[in-house]
């Protein structure tokens, strides 16, 4: 009933739809312009070297590493940028502000594309793991940020890294961005099996939407709910994100057809075991052949009568829309992003959701198709699911996320002339190292704008069972309050929370005094809410 009430409120308030998201400006990080000038003139050869590198399909390797595939949309956009810059050269004019932006963007793509080819972004070796461990425990007593005086009312302009979205409510921004990317999600989804995933540690497969244009990553495990919340919070704060959606029992139908890499559930289980060491069996709900009765109730199954399908107890679908082309990481050496306050300030956003995996590889420079073969650049925060209560097991090389009892009630503490930000992160890209009080203050102000309704909607979207949802709501509200209190930000949208919340069902304490006591409804949630055994120990199965 409460969910319906909130839905009605959201609909009545409505989302104001406006024109496309503006590109904003990138600004000259690290004097990119100098790289492309010689003797006060544009260095055409240098520009073309960069552009040809990004577009020439005959060049497939860089320093022995395979370069990512160049998508047509990306090539088209690079050609557009190059031509815009070359116009200045051939017409004998100085670069206009727009052309300067094109040049920065071109160089940014160049760095991101190069980085995407480097081995370290594709595989995690022993030294990477050591480094992650070191970073995780480096700030176990909190990151200290010196408080500085004179907080001005800073106004940050839109850029590919952040948008103010002044006319879109924080709670609506996730769906607003999804609409721009033409992401369409339904209450029940039918998707077509393509191939097994080959990246990251979370088990996943690539599937096709029924429109055959868009794709999804179908995922299982402990990130199913957390990624949904992490992404929605980041988008509420003004950042671009991936778009994951959580589904419960029998809400997603995975159909195997002649084009699927594997043609049955058994084959799928074998492949997932090989690739990820993951046992899918506990997550499977049903398996069979699509029949007439099913197609009567789920019309989108009609074309697949006679084919094998399976459903799951729970899973997540993360959009891979055709409109978005992913290039490579955007937090890179070579681009001095420490000058970007919004990126530095993202540190507090990561802390808010207790995100652990803050490696550069989880930042993505991308192009978004605006229509009519025109694109805008966007910096996407990806893989925000390693959050909301993380346990790291160095001995086993394992980790688990979404452990509500591991999520602290507070994020920040103000002591003397410092603020202590308590969060464990496995990486500290340069912008986060350079983050100062002003940077964090600005993003903390954005956190203040997440009100009770927004937080409720975000938690609802995660599809947690009721006790978990309630506990997470109270904890996130408390964490929000600790941030605002630490930065002395007046809370104009106070959210009530109870650190001692208790929930009883059928005479059994599920949550007592703010602690989850039981592995609630474990049969339907195989990853478990309490056990610290994560994906590398098959969630204890």
């Amino acid at each position: 009933m409460f969910k319906i009430f909130l839905l009605i409120i959201s609909i009545l308030n409505g989302v104001t739809l406006h024109a496309q998201i503006s590109r904003g400006s990138i600004a000259d990080y690290g004097n990119v312009i100098d790289l492309y000038y010689v003797n006060d003139s544009l260095n055409l050869a240098k520009i073309r070297t960069t552009a040809n590198f990004l577009t020439d399909k005959s060049c497939n390797f860089l320093n022995g590493n395979k370069l990512p595939k160049r998508k047509k949309a990306f090539i088209r956009h690079v050609q557009f940028l190059t031509e815009a810059i070359e116009e200045s050269y051939f017409k004998g004019k100085d670069l206009s502000p727009f052309q300067r932006e094109c040049l920065y963007e071109l160089h940014f793509y160049y760095l991101a594309f190069r980085a995407a080819s480097v081995r370290k972004f594709n595989r995690v070796n022993f030294f990477d793991k050591l480094r992650m461990l070191y970073n995780t425990y480096k700030h176990c007593s909190g990151r200290k940020v010196k408080i500085t005086d004179g907080i001005e009312q800073v106004i940050h302009s839109d850029s590919p890294f952040w948008h103010s979205f002044t006319e879109v409510r924080p709670v609506d921004r996730f769906d607003y961005i999804a609409k721009q990317k033409k992401i369409k999600v339904h209450k029940k989804m039918v998707v077509l099996m393509d191939k097994i995933g080959n990246d990251g540690s979370a088990p996943k497969v690539r599937v096709s939407d029924l429109d055959l244009d868009n794709e999804w990553n179908l995922k299982w495990g402990d990130e199913v709910h957390t990624d949904v919340v992490g992404s929605r919070i980041f988008s509420a704060l003004g950042y671009d994100v991936d778009h994951p959606y959580a589904f419960l029992k029998d809400q997603v139908y995975l159909v195997f057809d002649e084009y699927s890499e594997v043609k049955s559930l058994e084959a799928l289980k074998v492949k997932l075991k090989d690739q990820y060491g993951f046992n899918l069996e506990p997550f499977v709900s049903s398996y069979g052949v699509v029949n007439v009765e099913m197609t009567d109730s789920i019309q989108s199954l009609r074309s697949f009568e006679g084919l094998f399908y399976c459903t799951f107890k729970k899973c997540a679908l993360e959009a891979r829309p055709d409109r978005v082309k992913r290039i490579g990481p955007f937090m890179l050496e070579g681009i001095k992003l420490e000058e970007n306050a919004l990126l530095r300030g993202a540190l507090i956003a990561h802390a808010f959701i207790d995100n652990w995996d803050t490696r550069t590889r989880n930042t993505l420079l991308s192009t978004v198709h605006k229509g009519k073969h025109r694109y805008r650049v966007s910096a996407v925060f990806s893989d925000l699911g390693t959050s909301l209560g993380v346990s790291v097991s160095p001995i086993n090389g394992d980790f688990k996320v979404g452990l509500v009892n591991q999520l602290a009630w507070d994020v920040c503490e103000r002591k003397g002339n410092k603020i202590r930000v308590m969060s464990r992160m496995n990486a500290e890209p340069i912008p986060y190292k350079q983050a100062d009080y002003h940077d964090l203050f600005f993003v903390a102000k954005q956190i203040e704008k997440i009100d009770s309704i927004a937080l409720r909607n975000i938690v609802l979207a995660a599809n947690w069972p009721y006790p978990l949802a309630e506990l997470y709501f109270h904890k996130l509200a408390a964490r929000r309050a600790s941030i605002l209190q630490s930065f002395l930000i007046e809370d104009e949208n106070p959210i009530y929370f109870n650190r001692h919340i208790s929930i009883k069902e059928n005479n059994e304490w599920i949550v007592k005094d703010g602690v989850l006591l039981v592995n609630y409804n474990g049969e339907d949630h195989p990853e478990g809410w309490i056990s610290k055994k994560g994906r590398f120990r098959n969630y204890g199965h």
């Binding site: 552009a51 040809n52 577009t55 088209r76 050609q79 051939f90 096709s208 002649e258 084009y259």
Partner: protein, 293 residues
């Protein structure tokens, strides 16, 4: 079955070109549907193509077995522009090359110190809508010179071929030949050869309307009947040439050894209408003819 004897292969597709000498007796083919031996032709549109071929002063691309052209395709009041590099089908030691560049609307050419859209320049040349067509031709030549090192797919390919030593360094491309073609397109099906599958699931989106509506029918072949007139762009030579060709292209993903329908259909058409195989591109045919004149 081995498809040789005139069939060209590129990108896993087979194509055959047949020269049409008597257009009048050939045209009725497109008014009928049942062809014979179970083959059915579904003629669905006629397009107009305008082409502008580029080469060096001494026809270096022609001699090396390549053609480079701008094309304007007109369909239902829409114009689509492309810039394409192609190799001759039987070029020894070189895989069949076909490299396209679209989105030409972002480029400009300089005409008498004024900058105009490249596509408008092409329009002026194709439609002869300006008194200064020669200025536009010079503008195109200058554009080629300016953009030869730029990130355009046909130029990238030419540079790659230069690096590999397949062709000599290309200097000063300019327009050398202009043409207009009227292309009648048809699908060819035959119930005896159904049951083909698409290579990729997403190929369903690229299927023509007829096959989306008749999902049980296999898209065996695509044919194009081109009636073309070419004009040499030389200050001392404005010869015109007429070329009429019928091209058959395989579309079904049957294994090569199962593509007997290609042979049966082409033999049926060739023998009925007295068509002979043509191995060379239109460009090569025309330039060869000018060289021998």
């Amino acid at each position: 079955m081995t498809l040789t004897n005139g069939w060209m292969q590129s990108n896993n597709e087979h194509q055959l070109k047949l020269k049409v000498k008597d257009v009048q007796s050939f045209e009725p083919l497109f008014h009928s549907i049942q062809i014979g031996e179970g083959f059915k032709m579904i003629t669905y549109d006629t397009l107009v193509y305008n082409d502008l071929y580029l080469d060096t002063e001494d026809f270096q691309l022609y001699k090396s077995g390549f053609s480079l052209r701008f094309r304007r395709k007109e369909l239902n009041d829409n114009s689509v522009y492309s810039f394409q590099l192609k190799s001759e089908a039987n070029l020894f030691g070189v895989e069949r090359i076909e490299v396209d560049q679209f989105d030409l609307d972002i480029y400009e050419i300089e005409i008498e110190q004024q900058w105009v859209k490249l596509v408008h320049g092409l329009d002026a040349i194709f439609d002869e809508s300006s008194e200064n067509v020669n200025d536009f031709l010079k503008g195109i030549a200058q554009w080629c010179s300016n953009k030869y090192e730029a990130p355009l797919a046909p130029f990238q390919k030419l540079r790659e071929l230069e690096e590999r030593g397949v062709i000599d360094k290309v200097f000063k491309l300019k327009p050398v030949l202009k043409g207009i073609s009227f292309r009648t397109r048809s699908h060819v099906v035959n119930n005896r050869y159904n049951g083909c599958k698409l290579d990729k699931r997403s190929d369903q989106l690229k299927q023509p309307k007829y096959f989306k509506e008749h999902k049980d029918v296999c898209w065996l072949m695509e044919t194009s009947f081109d009636r073309s007139i070419f004009e040499v762009l030389h200050k001392d030579n404005h010869m015109e040439f007429e070329i009429n060709e019928f091209e058959i292209e395989n579309k079904a993903s049957f294994p090569v050894e199962d593509r007997v329908y290609l042979y049966n259909f082409s033999t049926l058409i060739a023998s009925r209408y007295g068509l002979v195989k043509e191995h060379y591109s239109k460009y090569k045919q025309v330039i060869s003819a000018t060289q021998s004149n």
